[in-house]
């Protein structure tokens, strides 16, 4: 390769030593994430796992994919993509976290589906017909205060990943 050729081609060449350092870091981080999974951090296990994964992904994007040495235009596109993904994930998750369905059940729906009083009476009559003949469907409902639903919606939303 002549000197003139090198000048024509002004792109940044990442040296192999950088690649070697990055791959070694990635392998160490992989070992770390496996090790961290065996320690009981309760709800923070997934936070640690995703943090390490994001760190690894960032290293790959910056060095292996040359984002660090790319023109500003390319960097803007990458950041816009990450921002857009965060927006889509964040909006969808905030919808699920704050959702209250028609039975007043908050997400996550539990395995035991909550029944309406009328349904309960109906299934009670089905299972014990001799006892519950006298069950009358009219149930008296306490009037809920006007802010009951508001409180449910504004309840401090848990992070969806922290299970």
């Amino acid at each position: 390769m002549s000197e003139q050729e090198h000048q024509e081609n002004s792109e940044h060449i990442v040296p192999p030593t950088t690649y070697l350092a990055i791959i070694l870091t990635l392998l160490v981080l992989t070992a770390t994430t496996v090790g961290a999974a065996f320690i009981n951090l309760h709800r923070f296990n997934i936070v640690v796992a995703l943090a390490i994964a994001t760190l690894k992904a960032t290293l790959v994007v910056l060095f292996f994919m040359h984002a660090k040495y790319s023109p500003k235009r390319t960097k803007l596109i990458i950041l816009a993509g990450i921002f857009w993904l965060a927006l889509l994930l964040g909006m969808t998750l905030s919808d699920y976290i704050t959702r209250v369905d028609y039975r007043g059940v908050r997400f996550p729906m539990t395995q035991v589906i909550q029944q309406l009083p009328a349904q309960r009476a109906w299934s009670a009559r089905r299972s014990h017909p001799q006892e519950s003949k006298s069950v009358h469907l009219k149930t008296t409902r306490a009037r809920r205060p006007w802010h009951a639903n508001l409180q449910r919606v504004l309840h401090p939303a848990p992070l969806i990943f922290i299970t």
Binding site: M1, E5, H6, E8, N9, S10, E11, I13, V14, P15, P16, Y19, L20, I22, I23, L26, L27, T30, T33, V34, A37, F38, I39, L41, N45, I46, A49, L50, I52, A53, K56, A57, V60, V61, F63, F64, M65, H66, S70, P71, R73, T74, I77, I78, A80, G81, I82, W84, L85, L88, L89, L93, Y96, F107, P108, M109, Q111, I160, F161, T163
Partner: protein
Amino acid sequence: MHRTGELYGQFKTLEQQKETATLGMWIFLITEVMFFGGIMLAYALNRHVYYPAFAAGSNTLSLKLGGFNTVVLLASSFTMAMAVWSSQVGKKTLISIFLLLTIALGFVFFGVKYVEYSQKFHHHLVPGKNFNIFYCVENPSSCPDVDAPELMEESKLLDEAKAADPDLNAHAQLYYSAYFGMTGLHALHMVIGAGLLFWLLKGSLAGRFTPQWNTPVDIVGLYWHFVDIVWIYLFPLLYLIDRHK
């Protein structure tokens, strides 16, 4: 494939031409990020609702095979980066060697994936009529690749999960659907990547890539690294949910 280093009319310099190609590839990769992002979102919600079943399902995966595949894929990303470097400095034989290494590591990944998938088929862990997460615990003789202490551990964990979720078998199928869906789509991307690598190898053996023109190597490299990133997320999400018992 256009001819080596030809400057197209709409560009002023070769550099600008390459920058445009790279930018286009990044935009394509962002659409791929959205695609996998949506699937991971569905996974996150299901995992949140059916946590005991997801944790039990995750513990039936082989951490050894998954961890080995992670190392293989990271190594293949390194060899791909080295192939890009060799094309930038004009070492023509090195490009072919590194591309071959990348392809070889890709095929090691496929091999391990084949072993993993066939184990899941033998262990009745494929969602459907015959899905039974207790299969190995109930029929230890049919699962010779799982040794006795592992089986004891699995039995204990499954009993705990069953106590937390009476409908464990149904919800574990959701986990396995996510597992096969996500790893399957990732493997599909790897197959496409391997095809592109063979195409690059053909070009590099013909000596097409020079320091002035190595756009295809660079762009396939971006794709291969992206597939690596997907696996970087899939590995902790699928294999490491609940190992701390």
